[in-house]
Amino acid sequence: MNILKFFTAGSVDDGKSTLIGRLLYDTDSILADQLEALQASNRKNDDGTIDLAILTDGLRAEREQGITIDVAYKYFQTEKRKFIIADTPGHIQYTRNMVTGASTAKLAIILIDARNGVVEQTIRHSYLVSLLGIEHVVVCLNKMDMVGYSETVFNAITEKYKALAAELNLKEVTFIPVSALKGDNVVNESEHMQWYQGRSLLHFLESVDVEDALPYNLARMPVQWVIRPQTDELHDYRGYAGRILSGSFNVDDKVTVLPSGHSSVIDRIEIFDQRPVEAFAGQSVTIHLKDNIDISRGDVLVNSDHLPQSSQVIEADLCWMDARPLDDSITYLLQHNSKITKCKIREIVYKVDINTLAKQDAHDFKLNDIGRVVLKTADELPFDLYTENKANGAAILVDSRTNLTVAALMFRNVSY
C-alpha cells in the first residue's frame, strides 16, 4: 500500500475544513471519543448538526474565530490507500502556512464556493500550485446545495477555471461538484446531481495514479552525516549517510562529490543491516565509496554522467513569507537540503499581480508577494531546475537576524 499526500486550498470559508471533516466522517475515520468531543463543542452549524470543520481547526483561536490559521495534518486510510491530508488556511494572511502544507503534497484539492465562483484566492492558490509543480489538481465546486445543485452553475465556473488552468499550465485538472456540508459526492455519490457522471472525491483519490515520472538518471544524495565509529574493529568504516533525493544509485556506479568535483565509485550501499545493490529516491541509506575523499555534511553525491547545474548566480521564483520585507542590502542564508550558504538578492526581475497574473516591475517584496529574482550565493550551488527535478531544485531563505524562514525558492535558470 502507498501513501497519497494531498492538501486543500481555496478562499476563506470555501469549506476546506468542512470537506476534510466530511471525508473523515463518511469514511468512519472519526473515533467515538473524538465524536463525543465534537458533539459537546458549542460550535455548531445553524441547523444544530455538528460542525465538521472543528475536527481540523485544532487551535483555540481557530475555533473561536471559525477560521483556519495553520496547517493541520490528518490521517486516514481505506482499503486502497493511505492518505495524509494537509488542511491549509484560506486567509491571505496565512498564505505561508498554505505553502507549507502544499510543498510536500502530490495532489491539490482546490475548493471554490459555487455561489462566488473563481475569486482572488482561487487564482493565488492555483498560481502557487503551478509554481510548486503539483501535477494533480482536483477542483471541488462546493456548496452546491446553496445553488440548487445546478448544472449550469457548475458548467459556468468549470469553463472559467479551465481558462485559468490553461494560462497557468496546470496539466491534469478534474472537476467535482460537492456539498461538504451535506456530503454530496464527497465519499458517497450524490442523489441531487444526476447530471454528474463522474466519481465521488474519495473514489477519485483512491484511484488517481500518482506514480512519479521520476528523473531516473538524476541520482542525487546530499550527505547529512558521516558515520565513523572509530572503534578498533571498524577502524576504516566511513559511511555517508543521507536520503536519496532523486534517481537511483547502484554498487559500482561512478559518482561525483560536489562541490569539490572529486569522483569515486560506490563500494557498497547499506540500509541498516541490509546491503542492497541498488537504492532509489526516497530511501535513507549509507553509501561507501572505493576511495578516501574528503566529504562532509552539505556535500552532495551525484551520478557522474548526469551532473547538476552548478552556479553562484541563479534565477529563482520566490514566495516571500516574512512580515519584514525583503532587503536587498542584507545577506541571507540559503538552505538547499543539507547545505547552507550565504546569499544576496541581486535583482528583482518581476513581481506577479495575482489578480491579472501580469508580471510587474517591482522594487520591493512584502509578505505573500510572489515573483522572480536573481540571487547570488557565496558558494557554488549544485542544483537542478525545479521543473526537471523538484527535489533538488528548491531551497529556503533564512534571515540570520531572526532565524526565521523568510522565503521559498524554486530554481528556474542559471544566470550570469
Binding site: 467515538a32 468531543a37 481540523t56 547529512q224 549517510a241 526516497g282
Partner: protein, 301 residues
C-alpha cells in the same frame, strides 16, 4: 526502471531517519526524550537505523515522574544495556524536593503536569538545543498543527501563531541562545503504523502493552491500575481485570483497556477495530477542549 513508490512503512521510516540525521547535523547538543512508551522505543529503533554502526549523537533523556509502571523502568534499563547508549534521568521528585513544583492533592492528583518543570530544568542543566520526541500528529488536534521542527522559546513555550514555514523536506533548525527545538520524527505516523512497524521490526516492548491480569479501579468511566500513586478511598472498588495499556504515561494518568490481546497481531486487530482514540485513554487530555494546546504553550513535550 525499478519501483519508485515506497511501501508506506518504508516511506515513513526513511522520512524519520532523514529527520534524525538532520538533528545530528544541525545541532550542538541534541537529546532524545525517552518515555519508555512504544513511540519512544520506536524512535530508538529509528536512531539505530540512522546511526549504526556508529554511536547515537545524543543521549537518551527520561523524565521520571516517580509514578512509573515498574515494567517500564525494567524495560528501560535492559534496553540501555543492550544498545549501549547514555541515559540521563531527570526526577520530578527532585523538583518537588527543591520546591520548584508542588505535588497535587485530591482524588485526581497526578504528576503529569509537574513533568514540564523537570523537563525544562533538565534541558537547561545540560544545555540541550534540540529534543527529539515521539509525538505524532494523529494523537491530538493541537499536535496535528505542530511542525516537525518546532521552535520553543527560552521558557519552552510553543507559539502556534508564530510557527515557521516548513517547506519541502528542508528543516530550519537555527535558533537563538536559550531557545530549543522540539523535533518529531514520527509526526506522520499513526498509532497503527507504529504497531505495524513494531511487528515488522520484531521489536521488544514493555509487558504492560500486552493483556495481563491486574487490580484496577474504575474512575471517571475509565479503568485505572490500582497503585500507591493513586489517591484511593472507600468508594473505589478494586477489581481484578484482564487489561492492557495503549499508551504509557505515569500510573496516575494512564488508563487501561479491557483486552485479551496477548500477541502483536491481536493488538493490531484490536486497534484496527477500535472506536476510541489512543489518547481517549489519557485523563490529562480530558480536562478541556484545549488541554493539550495549553500544556504545549507551557513547555510540555
Amino acid at each position: 526502471m525499478s519501483k519508485v513508490n515506497l511501501d508506506y512503512l518504508d516511506e515513513l521510516e526513511a522520512e524519520a531517519i532523514h529527520i534524525l540525521r538532520e538533528v545530528a547535523g544541525q545541532f550542538e547538543k541534541p537529546a532524545l526524550l525517552f518515555s519508555g512508551g512504544k513511540d519512544s522505543i520506536t524512535l530508538v529503533r529509528l536512531a539505530e537505523k540512522a546511526f549504526r554502526p556508529g554511536k547515537f549523537p545524543f543521549p537518551l533523556v527520561h523524565i521520571d515522574t516517580g509514578h512509573n509502571f515498574e515494567e517500564t523502568i525494567t524495560f528501560r534499563d535492559q534496553m540501555i544495556d543492550r544498545i549501549g547508549e547514555k541515559l540521563i534521568v531527570g526526577y520530578v521528585q527532585e523538583s518537588i524536593d527543591e520546591g520548584k513544583v508542588i505535588e497535587q492533592t485530591g482524588k485526581n492528583a497526578s504528576r503529569n503536569a509537574l513533568q514540564t518543570v523537570t523537563l525544562l530544568d533538565t534541558i537547561a542543566k545540560y544545555g540541550f538545543d534540540a529534543c527529539i520526541g515521539g509525538a505524532r500528529r494523529d494523537e491530538e488536534k493541537a499536535r496535528a498543527k505542530e511542525r516537525i521542527f518546532s521552535v520553543r522559546d527560552e521558557f519552552g513555550q510553543w507559539d502556534p501563531k508564530r510557527q515557521r514555514p516548513e517547506l519541502w523536506n528542508i528543516y530550519n533548525g537555527r535558533i537563538h541562545k536559550g531557545e530549543n527545538v522540539r523535533v518529531f520524527p514520527i509526526s506522520n505516523w499513526t498509532e497503527l503504523d507504529v504497531w505495524n512497524y513494531i511487528k515488522r521490526e520484531k521489536m521488544e516492548l514493555p509487558s504492560i502493552y500486552f493483556a495481563h491480569e491486574r487490580d484496577c479501579i474504575t474512575r471517571n468511566g475509565q479503568l485505572m491500575a490500582a497503585s500507591p500513586f493513586l489517591n484511593m478511598d472507600e468508594e473505589d472498588i478494586v477489581e481484578r481485570k484482564k487489561v492492557r495499556f495503549r499508551t504509557v504515561g505515569d500510573m496516575s494518568c494512564t488508563a487501561a483497556v479491557s483486552s485479551d490481546a496477548t500477541e502483536l497481531d491481536d493488538i493490531i486487530a484490536e486497534i484496527s477495530a477500535s472506536k476510541i482514540s489512543e489518547r481517549g485513554a489519557r485523563m490529562d487530555d480530558k480536562v478541556s477542549e484545549a488541554a493539550m494546546e495549553d500544556r504545549k504553550k507551557g513547555g510540555y513535550f
